[in-house]
């Protein structure tokens, strides 16, 4: 059974945004790149899988379970909005997720915090953008779940923080879970992918193993540029 199954999922927002009849299947144990320009539907897709939005039609299942309360404990989502609340210190944020999620691994969180050079006593509102992204990632990765969804985890951060974040992803990734990472920055991150999904105007245009893509002589970046060339 596949880990994630989307059948004919449509979600319309105003204009061209949203998803248009997306069907998709993901196996466990993969790092998957969800690639596409801004506004192509990456965030919509992730929000639907996480249950933060509802499809107009079609079905989404995680481990065979339709998205809903039951899949909350199967999916760890790093949205494009913070997972923290302004009143929190770093330690409060960790305690918050540990209190609510039985699958939260405090030990892992502690390791990641020190790896990310985050101090437990820092208030979240005082963190720089890069540090805040690191904290968000720490919270999302510290849960032990079959499916992680990371929406643009390296979006607005400098190259140093970017490297740190990629390190953390590779380091914390466990072979029996699947990690979906959306990004429009292909070059910096393509090496950590097993598989890429290219999405354009709410439709999936390609889903392929990265090494197969390279074996055919066309790398991910080149494919990306070819597909999304105007």
């Amino acid at each position: 059974m596949s880990l994630l199954e989307l059948a004919n999922v449509t979600k319309r927002y105003k204009g061209t945004r949203g998803l248009n009849g997306v069907s998709l299947s993901l196996d466990p144990g993969k790092i998957v790149g969800l690639l596409g320009p801004n506004g192509s539907g990456k965030t919509t897709l992730m929000s639907l899988i996480a249950g933060l939005a509802h499809p107009d039609s079609g079905t989404i299942k995680v481990q065979g379970v339709p998205v809903g309360l039951a899949t909350r404990s199967l999916v760890s989502f790093l949205p494009d909005q913070p997972l923290t609340e302004p009143w929190m210190k770093v330690e409060d944020a960790v305690a918050y997720y540990a209190d609510f999620f039985a699958d939260f691994d405090r030990e892992k969180a502690r390791e990641l915090l020190s790896f990310m050079k985050l101090l437990p006593s820092d208030p979240v509102t005082a963190l720089s953008k890069g540090m805040s992204e690191r904290l968000q990632l720490t919270l999302a990765l510290s849960r032990r779940v079959p499916l992680y969804l990371l929406d643009e985890p390296i979006g607005g951060v400098d190259p140093v923080a970017r490297g740190k974040i990629l390190d953390a992803i590779v380091e914390q990734y466990s072979e029996d879970s699947t990690l979906v990472v959306s990004t429009h920055l292909v070059r910096d991150i393509e090496r950590i992918f097993d598989e890429v999904i290219l999405i354009q105007e709410g439709k999936i245009v390609l889903q392929q193993e990265v090494e197969d893509l390279r074996l055919s002589g066309v790398g991910v970046e080149e494919t990306f540029r070819e597909v999304f060339a105007e």
């Binding site: 927002y13 965030t43 933060l52 939005a53 509802h54 309360l69 909350r72 989502f77 949205p79 009143w87």
Partner: protein
Amino acid sequence: MRMLLYYQLKQRRNHLLGVLGILVLLELYLLFFPPVRQITEAGVIMLSGTGYIGAFIVFSVESIRSFFQSLKLPSRRLLPLRPVSHVLAALIYGLLGFAVIALLALLHGILLKQAFPRHLLAKLVDPVSFQDFLAGLAIGTWAFLFSVISIYLLIAFIYSFHFKYRVLVAIVGYNLLLTGISRLEEYLFQVEDGGSEIFRMLSIRWGESADMSGVNVSGPSSITHWLSGALLYEIAFGVLFIVATLWLMKNKVERIK
């Protein structure tokens, strides 16, 4: 649910304690040093009442704010909790604040009766028995619940749809709905003055604290009247609002980009 409630209290504890602190200080000040020379007796009574009403409003807003966050923040929406847990946590959060205010008011009243019989506020509480207090408390609690629940529905509606004038439509619809409910109630139960039973009761409470002479909420009789169908009618709508809110939360509410 309990954990969510815990975090709501933890998040807002300074704010909540601050509001209660101000209320207590204000009432203590009015108790020991009533500034009758500066602002007249009526002014003192007004001020005392305003303290309680202000705190009541703050806690109502807190309850609504907490529900609002449950719909808005990813940190709340992603939690493995049922919609009903979010609603209950926000309601109980507000009710706790309300209970503390009621407790303070009770202590204040007892203190006035026992230790300050000559205080100008004592005249106000003198005719009010413990039963009256309980009746007022029941009415106030229901008024609080009904208004907060209806606003939850309003917020859930706004977070469920994406058309352009949803906020306007929601507010107009909300007013029409409440007006319709109260008109129907008047028609069905021959409630004398306009407005919903709740708001009528609320206005009596308001009068109680603002008008020094007109304190004649006869507890037992108003409770009997209240139970005579109008309350059931309102409870039915309250339940309906909650069911609608829960349905929206499960099926429609999503973040607005």
